[in-house]
Structures are given as structure tokens and as C-alpha cells.
Amino acid sequence: MQKIGVFVCWCGSNIAATVDVEAVAQASLSEPGVVFSTNYQYMCSEGGQSAIRNAIAEHGLTGIVVCACSPRMHEATFRKTAAVAGLNPYMVEIANIREQCSWIHRDKEEGTKKAIILARAAVAKLNRNVPLIAGESQVIKRALVIGGGIAGIQTALDVADAGYEVDIVEKTPTIGGKMAMLDKTFPTLDCAACILTPKMVDASAHEKISLFTYSEVESVSGFVGNFTVNIRKKARGVNSDLCTGCGVCIEKCPSKKAKSEFNQGLCNRSAIYIPFAQAIPNVPVIDRESCIKFQTGKCGVCEKVCTAKAIDYAQEDEIITRQYGAIVLATGFKPISLESYDEFQYNQCPDVITSLEFERICNAAGPTKGKVLRPSDHEPPKTVVFVQCVGSRATVECGKTYCSKICCMYTAKHAMLLREKYPDTEVYVFYIDVRTPGKSFDEFYRRAVEEYGVHYIKGMVGKVAEEDGRLIVQGSDLIADKQVIIEADMVVLAAAIEPDPTARSLGTMFTASMDTNDFFTEAHPKLRPVESPTAGIYLSGLCQGPKDIPDTVAQAGAAASKVIGLLSKDKLVGNPCVAACNEPLCNGCSTCELVCPYGAITYEEHLVVDHGVRETRRVSCVNEAICQGCGACTVTCPSGAMDLKGFTNLQIMAEVDAICR
């Protein structure tokens, strides 16, 4: 039999004005197991806590019920108080008589009645509590960052600077991501390469950072503090240790018809290539699809010209197994495909381009060496139309329901750069809304209008048609209530952005939950924005939601601080309120394994004693370090074998019985 003490808090007048606290304390005395009850003005204060400690010692209490505010507020406080007095902290129950009673009722009589019932339920539950002991696990002091764009690089640098080892896994041949493709960055117009490439160099030179480029995560097992990850290092066809990065192989390669991914397909590259001059590592990779040697067996020019003997056609994919304490997802984004947008003629007219293509055309290292020229005839455009919200804020199938957030600002940037470089170019921007929340953002957009004379037209473009080499743009001017027709030389579409497609398979692998748009969901949208609901998995950059470079860098730093917080611990104390299987009841159906969102359940052969019969059965096993105590398995188990410690079916039913009594 338990010896229970009940402590009723007034919370000043928060509770006491609506609930007769003395009556609650008195009524609970008649409940089974209750040997002591009292009330106090502020139970969470030092006075209240010492009253609890004294009562535990004086009356030899085995458990306490605190009738006060939400357990979210002070459960941890009262558990600590109990622990100090020598009680198991899980022998504390909270009856929430504030948020769920005094704050939502006016009538004192009714409020008091309800508070008595809530206290009675907590006592009934506590009578079935058992002391729980949290397990401990080791923390491996190394982090894995998946994705080598600005988000991944920043997180890795911050974690490495704190003294922990970090590996970056990047699927393309170089780190740098999308930011490396940009020309200038808003709102200060500093060149993207000038601020990104030094960070890329820092990451590659940092003694605590290892780069795995042209690599992908193959599989993962384990749990927070103790992940084991297999990384597939794809065969480059070039020995990175021997290569000097001289570039002769690229120069001599006779196959030069592959589209350059880095330049958005606007120019060609050789079969053996480095994505861009400042790529890290500065080691080429052989694209086997377009390599003559791989396709026909003949050629071998690169091998002949390489003085370092670095070309290795026989190189195979390599699997590397590494262990990590924390994993950061920084998988980034890509613009959506515009294939379904026939009205803009993107697939038909070479002079209708995406904004990312426009970035490459503006860039000094791009296909036109920074001169803005039409892709079709390499003539400078005299009239350029920008169309915003192409695929953003659209509820129809080919679009995205969300605002892509970055387009308003980069379109203002593009318009401004064009007018700056070519003042005789007419620039039109069709917009639905101009959204510029951010430091110095609206001022930037207004400069495009007021100082640079960019024509902003409120309305959408309905269609683009090619006529005699010009693009006829038909759009709405909603303020004039007119349909406008502009003869343009180039149309730039601000395509919506979406999470990189690799995020989905990684999300499944890491049991990191995603929303309907495939953005990773955070543990709490406001209070835990850089943590995935799965312990030990963190989110950095655009894979969590649309954001610009300043937001990405800030979030990358926040993710790093969470990782550092985890890695600085030697041991992790788990949550003991986890699922457990009553093995003789388990029928081995696997339903719990299928519903578990964290991958915490596996099936194992165990020796089970059922009514005196000993036999080996396939039963459910919970990894307590991975289990988050969500209870999905307990409600799905058809045989009632699964139970959540601290919230067992018996405890919940006792509470319900007490309320219905």
C-alpha cells in the first residue's frame, strides 16, 4: 500500500479564486492510500517545496500528488523536489487544476467539484505507479552533416570550432551547393563566391572536418548518441590522393557534349570535369554516361595525359562505416520543374529561362562570362520581363501551396543588376504581392523601383508566345484594370522551390518526419525549430522550409549549438517512460513495428514462459534509447502486450474509473 501526500497549490489567486483549495485537500484525505494533505499559496516556491520535502520525511510518503498547474510547467520542478527528499521522481503525479480547471471555469462550486475529481484521478493513478529508473547511454563525440551547401558547411564549421569531429557527406562532386551558383546576394549585393568560397576552404582545411564528396548515405542504425552510418563513396574514376588538380585531363577530354549541371545546362562540359573552378575538392570526376572510354572501351586520353597517374578507370564504389553521436540534415532544395507550365513556353523557347539560369548568365564565371545575352542568338536583350510566383502559392497540382520566400528579393536583385549594367534595358516585373520582410529588404525592393526605374506591374502573366524571335508577354495590370502586352526579348520565371528529392529517402532512413511538401518537420514549430522529433537528428537550412541565406546561416548555427550541447555530454539519461512488451501476451504480429514512427521496435526470438510452458517465440523488443514514449504501439497492439511505463493501461483505466466514480 502506498503512503500518499496530496499538496494543493493556490497559485496566488489563479487557482484559489475559483477552487476551494482547502476543500480539495480535505476531500483527498478520504482517498485510498492518502495519509497527508495540505494547501499552500505557491507550491513551486522554496516554502512550498520545503513543505513537500518535510512531509515526505515526516510521514514516510511513498508518492506525492501535486494539485497545481500543467505538468508542462512544473512537473520537472516537483520531480526534483521529490528526488532531493529521497523519493523516486516518477512517484510524483500532477493534477492540473489550473489550465484544466480554474482558468476555464467561473463557478467556484463547480470548479471545486472538478478539482476534487482531478485530484482523485491522480491519486488513483499514483496507487499503481512503480519507481522508474532512466537508462544511460554513451555519446560518440562526432557529428555527421548531410549536405555540403551553405547550411551544412556553416553547421560543420561551428561544431568543429567547438572541438568536435564532423563529417560532411555531399552527393555532388563538390561542396558549395546552390549558393555557389549565385552571382550576387541580396540585400547587400556582395558576390556569393566571395563570401562562400572562403568558408568552403575553411571547411576543407579544418582539422576536425572530413569531407565525403560524391558520396551518399546508404543506411543508418542506432540511436541518439550512437548512430552507425554506412556512406557510399561513389567511384570518381580519379584517385584523389594522387590528383594534383592540374586540369589537363579536362582540357584534352574529347567528349564535350554533356550539359553542365553547375551552369544549369546553359553550356557543355567535358566527360571528365570539375563542376566549377573553385570546387572543393579540386579533383575531377568522370561522368561515365558521357565518357567514351566507359561507353565504347576506346579513348583513354585522360589516362595518357595525366602525369600524376591519378586516372583509375577500375575504381569502384566504396562503403565506409562511421559512428556518430548526432546527425544534421542539410539537404537543401531545387527549383521545381516547369514542364507543366506550357503557358510560359519554358520548354519551347530558349529565351524563357528560370531565375537560377539567369544567375548563371549574370555570373562572370558563367556561360556568357557575365554578359547578359539571350541563349537563342547571344544578343543582349533590350526588354526583359520577370514573372514572380511561378508555381508558388498554387493549389493546383503542378504547383506548391507555400510561398517560396526568396523570389521577391532575388527578382528585385536581378532587375536592379540588369538596370545597373545595361541602363537602356527596359525591365518589367509581374507580381501578385511583393513580400520583403527582413532587415533592409523592403528598402532594397523600393530602390529597384525608385532609383533603378524597374516597372513593377501588379498582376500575373497569362501567356507567353514567340513571334518572329520576340516573346509576346500577355499579362494583367490589375491596378489599371487592363490587359498589357509586352514585346520582350527575354522572360525570367521565378520558379517555386522544393526540397531536394533525396530528402524523402533520408527522411525514411532516419525516421525524421516530413510535412506534405517533403520539408522536414521540427520537434516544435516555435520552441524547437532545429530539432527533428527523432532524438539526435537536427535540421539545418532549406530542408526544413523556404529560407534565404541569412536565415539559413542563423539556423545552421542554431543546429550546431544543439549538436554541441549533445556531444558535450559523456552520457545521455533516457526517458524511462518508454514502451515495454509483456512477452507472454505478444502474438508476434509486427503491428507495433509498423506504426512506430522512430524505428524503436524490432522483433527477436526470446524464451517465453507462458502458464508454465517454456518456448521460443518471436516477440516485440523496444530499444529504450530510441523510444520517445509516444504510445502509438500501445494503442495499436491487438493483444494488449504493449504498455507505456508511467502511463500503463492499468494506470489510465484507474484514472478513468476514479473520474467516473
Binding site: E343, C389, R393, A394, T395, V396, G399, I432, K458, G459, M460, V461, G462, K463, Q474, G475, S476, L478, D481, Q483
Partner: protein, 130 residues
Amino acid sequence: MHADERKEAETIIRASGVNVRKCMKCGKCSATCPNFDEMDIHPHRFVSMVEEGDIFALMQSKSLWRCLSCFACVERCPRGVEPANLIEAVRLEVIRPLAGNRLRPEAIPALLDEKIPQQLIVSAFRKYSK
């Protein structure tokens, strides 16, 4: 708003099945309309006028008869609002009380010439039959 007009607005919303609140006022319907210049009230305004219950003005507009029923606005709307369905619902509210069909199927062959797009015939039935 007049009680009759409010009732009319409700009928039009019900008959067309259009949720006018989905409109984000981007104007792509008017941008895409091939007969924009012939209309006195433009497709995007149809949506906001129905939302505001300004129905009598719509019923008297030239646009009811100038709309080609080509459904380009329905096809292009990023929010799935379907402005042409609203125009059609308003038109039917005008046609129905007048009773009788203005276009009989038997009369069609005599009106045909080889340049007439098939869609025009379908659209004509939308306008001249109740």
C-alpha cells in the same frame, strides 16, 4: 445589399460550385483571357463582385455574352477558382427566366462553315440554351 441580390449571389455560388474565397487576386484569369478587350467587366472582377454580392451589375454586363467560354481562365488559375463557371452561372440566371432555347440543334448544320472551331458550337449552346 438588396435581399433579392443576396439571394441571387447565393444561387450563383451554389450553381457554379465556385468557392470565391480561394481567389488570391493574382489576375492570371484576366491575363490569360483572349477576349479581354471586348469585355466591360473582366474575369478577375467577376470573382470579387460575386464575393461582394454585386450581382445585378454582372447580370447587365456585356461580358456575359463576350466571354468565349474557352475556359482558359479555369485552366490557368493557380488556385482552382474557375471564373468562367461563375460567368456561366450568372448567364444562366439571365437566360432561364426568359424561357425557351435560342439555339436548336437542328439549326446548327446550316450555320456551319469549315473554319468554325468545334468549341464555338459547344460554347454557343452554353450561351443560347437554358
